[in-house]
Amino acid sequence: MDRNELIQQLKEQIIKQLNLADKKPEDIKDDDPLFVEGLGLDSIDALELIVLLQQEYNIKLKNAEEGQTIFRSVSTMADYILEQQAGSAN
């Protein structure tokens, strides 16, 4: 799966996992902030995103502090997933 496909998949998964029933994937821009002024996610949503990474990509966040950077946008999430997958493949 290339980066663009992963970004599209992530948008669909975020909408499903976080019950954003009023959103469509095209409403979420790749680099929009996920929290506060962007999608308006909150701290519980952050925990759900951690679950999503574990459930769908088998990635466990080692340090919760990293979340702020990883979950800045869908782009940063995709980059982190690709980086982790590349790391585990080597």
Partner: protein, 205 residues
């Protein structure tokens, strides 16, 4: 200390048997079941509160009933600390408890966990409208109008509560039963706030 006659039930909202009532007026009748009913209710009542979709069924039910109850409520005439909420039900947060338990067999869901207390519905209503007054949630076999009257009346006497949302919000097996009352000290309109009137209004449908 307010006299009994100075306190009135100024609005009622009822969600029962797939129907939504504001006082005597039928606002909506749905043909779907469970979440389908709640989501069609959301569209039809123009609730326009995206957080609704994240809530468990109990909070959706309470939020929808509060939306109907407070349609004409002029909350600006009260300070946030002057509006209380007292709710009750039979089944606590059983649906959310079961859903969370099921999720915990694989990946426990934080967003399900946060709804595993019945009083969260009070929090959701408070957040939406900015209420900060006293609140309480009671679990009892059936709606106890005398206890509700006693407790709310006491809040209005002993605390700076001038308006109170009270009533019953219950969900079990995708059956919704929400009956809310808005009780106000400032208003001369409405029905006298008594246990008897609460009982009559609760049992009307």
């Amino acid at each position: 200390m307010p006299e009994e006659s100075s306190v009135h039930i100024t609005s009622t909202a009822l969600i029962r048997n797939n129907k939504v009532w504001e006082g005597e007026t039928l606002l909506f009748e749905g043909d779907g079941q469970g979440m389908d009913f709640l989501h069609s209710l959301y569209e039809n009542l123009d609730i326009n509160y995206p957080k609704f979709f994240k809530m468990d069924a109990l909070c959706k039910s309470g939020t929808a009933a509060a939306h109907v109850l407070l349609k004409n409520f002029e909350k600006e005439q009260y300070k946030p600390e002057e509006v209380g909420i007292v709710l009750s039900n039979k089944n606590g947060s059983i649906e959310a408890d079961i859903n969370y338990y099921e999720s915990s067999k694989t990946f426990p869901s934080p967003s399900l966990f946060v709804y595993t207390l019945p009083n969260i519905v009070i929090g959701e209503i408070s957040i939406r409208y900015g209420f900060k007054g006293e609140n309480a949630f009671f679990v009892s076999e059936k709606f106890n109008a005398h206890w509700m009257y006693f407790y709310v009346n006491n809040l209005m006497q002993a605390h700076p509560i001038k308006a109170c949302i009270c009533g019953w919000v219950d969900v079990v097996d995708e059956e919704y039963d929400a009956c809310l009352f808005l009780v106000e000290q400032k208003s001369e309109n409405g029905i006298n706030f008594t246990a008897g009137n609460l009982d009559i209004l609760y049992n009307r449908a």
